[in-house]
Symmetry: C2
Subunit: 372 residues, 2 copies
DNA sequence: TTGTATGCGTTATCAC
DNA sequence: GTGATAACGCATACAA
């Protein structure tokens, strides 16, 4: 023990000898020499379930600790052809849904000895750089959460045998695994709930047009409403951009026609900022004057200032499923990709009010005085 | 071109041949063979500033594209002893300050061909696992943003020549580089501002006790107030935990003595949730009944529902500085660690009101009726 | 400039 | 169970 410490402390030139710091990285050969065994024995001592006697393993471990030896995973991966590193492409981290997702994903993967290599993909970025890096590092798999990654990237990686797992995103390409919530069903639940609460003039604030999340939520919402008599739906694009909420709010209540009684936003972030715009810029009350619903159930949705009604994504189950998909495809390269859908649930909070259709149409829409 | 495609498409067994998928990973030797050059020539063709003729390089590049060859960075790092991978230990990602920080850090590092390997460090976790992994992967450096990492970890890595960079965190250990805002100065600015606005009964909601951020902010706040006559400061611990805000609020306004006129929270997340508790549980108005100030200037602080006055962290400058520190220490191992302090600025919003000391003491504190 | 030979640190394949 | 030896894919010192 003491020996180990002194070995570690007494490395040459403790201060700033610029240029060449010759610190000794102990290798398995060094350990073998000290323990008086072969280098292969050292390797086996650090390999789970390898064929080695307990006595010898103990000797090796002790020598290793003395030298501060740790097996070099990089060198190991060169021959095992598995790095234990999984790429993660993320877009907007200002949405807590994604930051929570990657935190939990990383946590669960670490438990299974995998780690995430982060790739930030700016909106509209050329994803070719990402492709290159993923290949160059020989990553075990790539997880895509970004909405802005071209789908041909997935195809290219598939060709090279690198599994691709999509989270909160789907694609027609069946070569990629995916985990997503049942957006269409969730949105239809929102629609039914709003109708049941007596709302008739509805609005949908869309996310980025060509994303699977937006397409599915929009479809679920509109289809569920199509069969209900007397319901109108205003469609407006929000692009998952919280900074567009004010203009969205103004467009919804532009004074020409009566504003909506209830608004469904394609995600919570837009819903929260829309609530702010409605309340503090248009001087409308939520839910008395207008109801608001989101999707995701991010933490801020539960804040007292918002009390946002929303459809939750089962984030823990989604992460668990993703981990299974990853491990499955990495450990058995022949396994086929799978697409998984999980259902969340409607979380009813105070941002949705009740309408009485008989009297609501006139009293519901007060003077929508705009302000700065 | 067409040849390249057909090569890529025609790899054996396109479907699920379980078990052994024998896909051909082209190596530099393969490329060399096709291009009719030596393997080292291929290596040189992909090495910036290597000594090779343009003609030969062109031949190599073309052959490489035909085969879909990409240099294996893992194998390369075995020789260069640099992986281009930097460890990032993160704690609580539900705080947007950190999610924003790591996004920008990743972005900037990618521009310089570095990537971040994510390590989630659960609160109070044993950081030994982290230590092991960082060493095992031979990471170029480790960035610590988590508040919960023991400082002996830094020392251990330092011993092995792995640079450690702390962000939003400091330590006595001068072996680690660090970037942090001038917490003490910032907090003193908050104190001076509150006094100037006429507040006299103040309160400090502390973060986790032994963290450098909390220690410094607390010290700055209290020292600046120590010299001001007639000022009282109530101290209460919040542990950077948003779920404790309700009990914090109740303790501050427990009815025995007059509640504070202004509250400084050690970070924005606590300030926001405290505002909620004050408004919706204690039925107090902010800022009319009580003022609230935070620290960080996270995005939600600007939301209309909160309009939180706060002291900003210069996050872009902090990231830039961190990148410099990292690159500097990685590229020249002899360079000495540096500690950097950056100043933010007070961001005044509506969560702080003005008191008139002459009449404030009685009228300022209405019936603090508690509720559910 | 170019090719040959060697080594990076490890696991895998053999014989024993 | 154990030890030699050959890969893994690449960069580099050296000779040409």
């Amino acid at each position: 023990m003491q020996t180990a410490q002194s070995v570690l402390v007494h490395f040459p030139c403790a201060n700033d000898c610029s240029g060449s710091v010759s610190r000794p990285e102990p290798t398995s050969t060094d350990v073998a020499q000290l323990a008086g065994v072969s280098q292969s024995a050292v390797s086996r001592a650090f390999t789970e379930g390898a064929s080695i006697s307990e006595a010898k393993r103990a000797r090796v471990i002790e020598a290793a600790e003395q030298l501060g030896y740790r097996p070099n995973l990089i060198a190991r991966s060169l021959i095992t052809r598995r790095t234990g590193i999984i790429g993660l492409a993320v877009g907007d981290l200002s949405n807590p849904f994604y930051s929570q997702l990657i935190y939990k994903l990383s946590e669960k993967l670490q438990q299974r000895n995998f780690h995430l290599l982060l790739f930030t993909v700016p909106d509209r970025a050329n994803s070719d750089d990402l492709l290159e890096d993923v290949i160059n590092y020989r990553l075990d798999a790539l997880v895509l959460t970004s909405t802005e990654v071209s789908s041909h990237l997935g195809a290219r990686l598939q060709e090279r045998g690198i599994p691709v797992v999509l989270i909160n995103r789907t694609t027609e390409d069946t070569a990629s695994s995916s985990v997503a919530s049942d957006n269409e069903f969730g949105a239809s639940e929102v629609a039914r709930f709003l109708v049941k609460q007596g709302h008739r003039r509805l609005a949908y604030v869309a996310g980025i047009q060509n994303t699977s999340t937006n397409i599915e939520r929009e479809r679920g919402f509109l289809r569920a409403l199509a069969s209900v008599a007397g319901v109108t739906v205003q469609h407006i694009s929000g692009d998952y951009d919280v900074h567009k909420s004010l203009s969205v709010a103004r467009e919804l209540f532009d004074g020409e026609n009566a504003g909506p009684e209830a608004i469904f936003c394609a995600n919570d972030m837009m819903a929260l900022s829309l609530m702010d715009a409605l309340r503090y810029n248009l001087n409308l009350r939520v839910p008395e004057d207008v109801s608001v619903v989101g999707y995701d159930n991010i933490e801020p949705a539960a804040f007292s200032a918002y009390q946002l009604t929303t459809y939750s994504q089962p984030i823990d189950e989604m992460v668990d499923a993703a981990v299974e998909l990853i491990v499955e495809r990495v450990s058995s390269p022949g396994s086929a990709p799978r697409q998984i859908r999980l259902r969340g649930e409607l979380v009813v909070r105070a941002s949705v009010g009740v309408r009485h259709p008989s009297s609501a149409d006139t009293s519901a829409h007060p003077s929508s005085a705009a302000s700065a």
